[in-house]
Symmetry: C2
Subunit: 540 residues, 2 copies
């Protein structure tokens, strides 16, 4: 189905799978926010897409690009330009509803081959036209905006092939524009899994995962992208950079690790070789635990990660407010289960829910789960069984679809994530929560989604009515405050979403003046004319 | 004890622990090499150290350096200059015996503080004097040579402190000049281990491990340095580069991964924060297996690494020639054990010995060992128990001491290592072995010392009489041929020793022209005047 309205382009997920809020949620919202009108759409964003600014590409350049990719693989329609200039950040959606695409690209090209990518880069280098490499555009860091105009180079149309499954090496080589589900379906069919399941799984690509240093819901076990990548090919304006799939090596600085997280500023990732693992869903062992408080859950999680007996693959811990909200929103509040838990001492807004799934060999998954259970019980956890995990698994991708119907009612819902050492985790959690709670009527739901021996990732979800007629400005100031609070409390700018244009202002403070020089030097080597996603990661 | 002769400076290990060859070995040598005279030292290298070339440092520069570090921390004596201009490569030792230090530094400085390092770099930048950062100088890649002269900046005298053990984060922060045993003793005392045990453990430093992207004997379980490093501080001529100890992050390209493997060409690593693990030696489970042939052993090893049930920490597989030589040299040949093994079908020069040690949690170590045993038996292995592992553990560091007494008899013994995907492992093993065996009377002992899901490391040990009066030239041509053969058969230039000046001629072929530009760009950012270990990794 062709997308023709703003709403179509800024909303998450497939149109056909659009969610409506169920009764529990509506009841919760009307009870919590009496001013929210659940009968009428607020800022529905259904207008036709019209950018109000024509493509700035000159006719000779457009013709040159068309001569490279063919007419069918070039577009400067308002819809395509708009689609390619926003990601999936809350702000992108909000701007869409407000009919604003601030920094549109001038055109979109869909190269068919690496040779065409090389030619496009050459034309743009000569003409000094910015290029924004695009996968499935699920960026939440404003990495796709084109403040200087330019073209979006979209590889999702033609770079979709699995090139080689190597069962001896336990690896797969694929083109970078392949979507998560296509790659995973192919692998599952052969008895393997890619092990990478970001919430954006349905609408993200292999290349995007690498460019963002992504993590998935199972990355505690399978590793982040930087742990799964074996080698890659990148087309730059200075030629092709290609690495080899050694299991490990010592040949100077690691080039893969320079491209990982580069968000399109160094070149276009065209293919990659990744580790794969055996796909044995029947082997998985899972359970959940309720802890009396977040601190106990964190203590158990840390002890499990440092236990020297292997790790869970999926490992999540919800803080008390998130635990409580999920009780509310799933209709569990006030049920017998809830009352029983309260009766045995697990109080609302204190208790904390943990999910554990261990994949891999069947005996291993049972072994690790038994070890984790023993530690959880030491921290006074009550084992709540598989059902909360199964419920979470059911909606692990679709929960992201909730944002649009919330926004339809004028309710903001957004997330921000960071990584932090164990030592600083609770302090950061408290301080950032306090900051978020200074916003009137705002919920702050926090969970740990990825754990390590040395620390973890924290996910903050914040939810509250938008400030009418000042939605954008109010959000931006609030959001900046959250980043400040995270940064002040020793959290990283990002664990797996990247920097983009969202946190680039903090980059120097994060990696130092010399660190920024290192990034600039790298960019100067691979993109001396500065046309690759300018202003992304490194502020102009 | 002060070192005064060539022999003192080029030999491996402590003078007091010098090895003599035992009867089994002598018998083996005299039987195998009738021309070798076991009664007399060949090229003993006992001369006094005299470089025959005076320090090229101007007096004002020497005085400036002395004013920074103090008289006691500056030396331009021949002994100190010679020591600091060679590593532990066979060629270094051979040259020493031939009384040749081809590329000596002009002086050695031992800064006391990071401030002094900064000052030294500033002086040398201004005066365009090369600096070769030095740890314990166990490089086997000619990384310490000073073809353009310059000074050795040795941090092993004053950068030896453990700064912080962080038990919450499971990490330790230490100065980079600390030796392996000092760091490990400190950690063991607190119930932790660093998990990094290169054969050079006794004579290598934290900073050197990082600069070489080192691996240790237990790195299959604990990881290589790139998996253990959390953050670091590096003094460069352009300022200090410092990273943070996030467990993982997505903040653009990874700066730690640019310093890892940089072998002194980017700056001086002054401190690092590393993961630590619990030290529970009593928990370890170990065993050994005899396989009917190398191929079966490799098959089992691969299946174990890809089994999804955790990994051994130490995991080694000897090829048939190494297996047989260790029988010979340990006096096992012809014993009842040997005869029994032969009787049940494990033939000399076909059978292949595997060592497995699993650390960590006690139940985990048993669990993984049981899983590994099951797989080994599927590949027709005969379980040979703990004793071969214990024997190996006993001499895991001291076996490196053997080189000198072998050389005393005119017998060359050297090693070379590479990493390779599983798919290419057996081919590489065969081809490189064939090449090595083209050298007359040369043994070629091979083992896998580090295994991964996607491939492994191969260690080649070669042993044969030196070519009298043409020792150096003959070795260099032979050695170059080995590197060629590895490279042609898809092995990396190095798995954990680095590039140095030894394989820099192959760098461009390995990482591509653009890859080399990336390295040069990085160097240009952090060392624009090109004084940091010039010619190392990147050929001039």
């Amino acid at each position: 189905m062709e997308e023709r309205t703003y709403r179509d382009i800024f909303k998450w997920g497939e149109l056909s799978k659009e969610l409506t809020l169920d009764d529990h949620v509506l009841e919760f919202l009307t009870k919590t926010y009496p001013n929210v009108n659940t009968k009428e759409k607020y800022l529905p964003g259904d207008a036709e897409v019209s950018l109000g600014q024509k493509s700035q590409l000159s006719k000779p350049v457009s013709e040159k690009l068309i001569s490279i990719v063919g007419k069918d693989n070039f577009s400067d329609s308002d819809v395509d330009r708009a689609k390619h200039s926003i990601g999936r950040f809350f702000l992108d959606s909000l701007k869409g509803r407000l009919k604003r695409i601030d920094f549109p690209v001038d055109a979109v090209v869909y190269p068919k081959t690496e040779g065409e990518v090389i030619q496009i880069l050459a034309v743009c280098k000569k003409e000094k036209i910015p290029i924004i490499p695009a996968g499935a555009r699920s960026s939440v860091t404003r990495a796709l905006e084109a403040p200087k105009g330019g073209i979006s180079l979209d590889i999702t149309k033609h770079f979709k092939q699995v090139l080689k499954l190597n069962e001896v090496n336990s690896s797969v080589t694929a083109q970078a524009g392949i979507y998560g589900p296509e790659l995973e379906a192919f692998l599952n069919g052969k008895g393997y899994t890619c092990g990478h399941f970001p919430q954006s799984f349905e609408f993200s690509t292999l290349g995007g995962w690498i460019a963002a240093r992504g993590a998935g819901q199972a990355s505690t076990g399978y590793g982040k992208m930087e742990n799964m990548l074996l080698s890659l090919r990148v087309v730059t304006t200075e030629g092709i950079l290609e690495t080899k799939d050694y299991p490990a090596a010592s040949i100077g600085p690691d080039i893969d690790q320079m491209i990982l997280g580069s968000e399109g500023i160094l070149g276009v990732i065209t293919q990659a070789t990744m580790k794969v693992r055996k796909y044995n869903p029947d082997n998985s062992s899972m359970t959940s635990f309720m802890f009396p408080d977040f601190e106990s859950g964190v203590g158990a999680m840390r002890e499990i990660m440092q236990g020297g007996f292997g790790h869970p693959h999926f490992f999540r811990l919800q803080d008390p407010e998130e635990t409580q909200l999920s009780f509310l929103m799933s209709g569990l509040e006030g049920t017998f289960k809830d009352k029983f838990l309260q009766w045995i001492g697990f109080k609302p807004f204190q208790r904390s829910l943990m999910h554990v799934i261990v994949d891999g060999d069947k005996d291993y998954s049972r072994f690790v789960l038994a070890k984790a259970t023993k530690i959880a019980k030491k921290y006074k956890a009550f084992q709540t069984g598989k059902s909360p995990v199964l419920k979470w698994l059911e909606q692990r991708y679709s929960s992201a679809y909730l944002r649009e119907p919330f926004m339809d009612l004028g309710v903001m819902i957004d997330t921000i994530e960071t990584s932090v050492s164990w030592e600083n985790l609770l302090g950061l959690w408290k301080e950032v929560r306090s900051y978020i709670k200074t916003r009137p009527e705002t919920f702050c739901l926090v969970h740990i989604s990825h754990a390590y021996e040395n620390g973890a990732n924290l996910y903050f979800i914040f939810l509250g009515p938008m400030k009418k007629n000042d939605e954008l400005n109010e959000f931006e100031i609030f959001h900046k405050g959250i980043i400040e609070a995270i940064h002040k409390n020793k959290g990283s700018l990002s664990h797996h979403h990247g920097v983009g244009r969202l946190t680039s202002a903090w980059l120097e403070d994060e990696i130092g003046e010399l660190g920024v020089k290192v990034y600039k030097g790298l960019k100067n080597t691979l993109d001396p004319s500065g046309i690759m996603n300018p202003g992304c990661i490194i502020k102009d």
